[in-house]
């Protein structure tokens, strides 16, 4: 059996008669770190939410780990960090992670929580309600939540948002660790310097369609900027 983690065939998503994704097909294998670039409204978030099973496609098929993505055992293997942190602001980080740990049936919760908070640099903040956290701290904790059950597929929607340089460096370390452990990561970003430094494959999404992709020897940031401008402009001309 092949090692595809995500198999998407002609995925489309329409919101209130407005097409957001139009026939996206892609296969993402085990151990790949895929960066998705695109303008605002290109469909990046929708694609990640479809992969995370938070949305159902209007058309097309999606398989995760060769199974129906709605299967609870498949969801157990997926970690997702979106624009929202999915953290209860009135609960502390320890309480939030306890809830998610129990939900995933994780053993030795206290030790895991300590390790998770230390991993994202929030040791000492475990008993303060999340409402008191800055945007960057909440993003770090959201990352800890997404990683907490040790998922095989990590989906990150603009994970560098709100992070200071230390936080971005931490994110790079986490992605490098995920790669070395054979995990699959799909993330979106607007920062080519960050994205190209960590990913093994790049996709450019425009108008709900993949207009360019590359893997292996990725272009430099400058060359990628030219490619990005050319591919999105030519896709726009074709639309008109």
């Amino acid at each position: 059996m092949n090692n595809w983690v995500i198999e998407a065939e002609r995925l489309s998503k329409t919101f209130a008669w407005m097409p957001v994704l139009s026939g996206v097909s892609c296969r993402i294998g085990r151990g790949e770190i895929v960066g998705i670039f695109g303008h605002n409204g290109a469909g990046k978030t929708t694609l990640l939410r479809l992969f995370a099973t938070l949305l159902r496609p209007s058309a097309g098929t999606l398989k995760l780990f060769h199974h129906d993505p709605r299967d609870a055992q498949v969801r157990r293997r997926v970690g997702f960090l979106g624009h929202d942190s999915f953290l209860y602001p009135d609960l502390t980080p320890v309480e939030n992670l306890t809830f998610y740990g129990r939900a995933y049936g994780l053993p030795q919760l206290a030790a895991r929580i300590d390790a998770a908070l230390e991993r994202v640099g929030l040791q000492g903040w475990g008993h303060i309600p999340v409402r008191a956290f800055s945007r960057g701290m909440e993003q770090r904790l959201g990352l800890a939540r997404a990683l907490f059950h040790d998922p095989d597929l990590l989906l990150l929607d603009e994970p560098d948002t709100g992070l200071d340089p230390q936080g971005t460096a931490l994110l790079r370390v986490i992605l490098a660790q995920a790669r070395s452990q054979g995990k699959t990561v799909v993330f979106t970003t607007h920062d080519p310097a960050f994205g190209l430094a960590v990913c093994t494959r790049v996709l450019i999404l425009h108008g709900g369609v993949i207009v360019w992709q590359a893997s292996g020897n990725l272009p430099s940031v400058e060359t990628f900027g030219d490619i990005y401008a050319r591919s999105t402009q030519s896709a726009s001309r074709m639309e008109h």
Binding site: L54, R75, D84, F86, E95, F99, Y100, A103
Partner: protein, 217 residues
């Protein structure tokens, strides 16, 4: 399910917003009626029973909305849906939370209401907690289902009562009839008790079965 219920209880212990607002609202409704109606009318078991259930229903609406509003902040409900529970389990946990909080409020409000209404103490009152609990179970089952739908709309505060109240009519009629009989010390109206039980069973099972459709995007 226990993880979800534990989280809801933890949130309530931290903020105390839900219990406090439910208790104050239920008590205010009872007091308004106590001041508005004459003592003779208040002594009628039908009026007393109706008053008890009006207070419970309006406090219950608040409880239902609050149960799902905490999930909307920071997109937490998406986090819950990502967890490897089936949607029926999420329904059962939310339903159990509503039953728990409404029961706790009623433990305080019902005795106070009986005092304000000068209800004569009798042995038949011993079954009142059971009747109230059956009503709360039916209300919470249907309410959890509709609150999950309404919370993701812009007009949620209006939509929930507009959707829910007409559909609760059989439950409320049955609950008021049984409560009235209990307060009057009369024989139990068996048919209305069966309606109450049937409503509970029907909507707990329905909610558990169809919640996955309700919480879809």
């Amino acid at each position: 399910m226990w993880a979800l219920l534990w989280k809801d209880i933890r949130l309530e212990l931290r903020t105390k917003e839900r219990m406090a607002s439910l208790f104050v609202l239920a008590l205010l409704i009872v007091l308004v009626f106590v001041f508005a109606l004459s003592p003779e009318r208040l002594r009628s078991p039908d009026v007393s029973a109706a008053l008890l259930w009006v207070a419970l229903v309006f406090a219950g609406m608040l409880s239902l909305q609050r149960a799902f509003l905490v999930e909307q902040e920071r997109g937490c409900f998406s986090g819950v849906l990502l967890c490897p529970f089936d949607a029926g389990t999420v329904f059962l946990a939310k339903f159990a939370g509503n039953v728990l909080f409404l029961t706790l409020v009623q433990v305080l409000v019902t005795p106070l209401t009986l005092v304000f209404l000068e209800v004569q103490l009798s042995w038949s009152l011993l079954v009142l907690p059971l009747v109230v609990l059956l009503g709360i179970i039916g209300f919470s089952a249907m309410g959890t289902l509709f609150a999950a739908m309404a919370v993701r709309t812009r007009a949620r505060e209006v939509l929930l009562p507009v959707l829910l109240l007409p559909l609760l009519t059989p439950l409320l009629i049955a609950a008021v009839k049984v409560t009235s009989a209990v307060l009057a010390g009369a024989a139990w109206p068996g048919v209305w008790l069966r309606v109450l039980l049937a409503f509970d069973v029907l909507f707990v099972i329905t909610g558990w079965l169809i919640f996955s459709q309700v919480v879809q995007e």
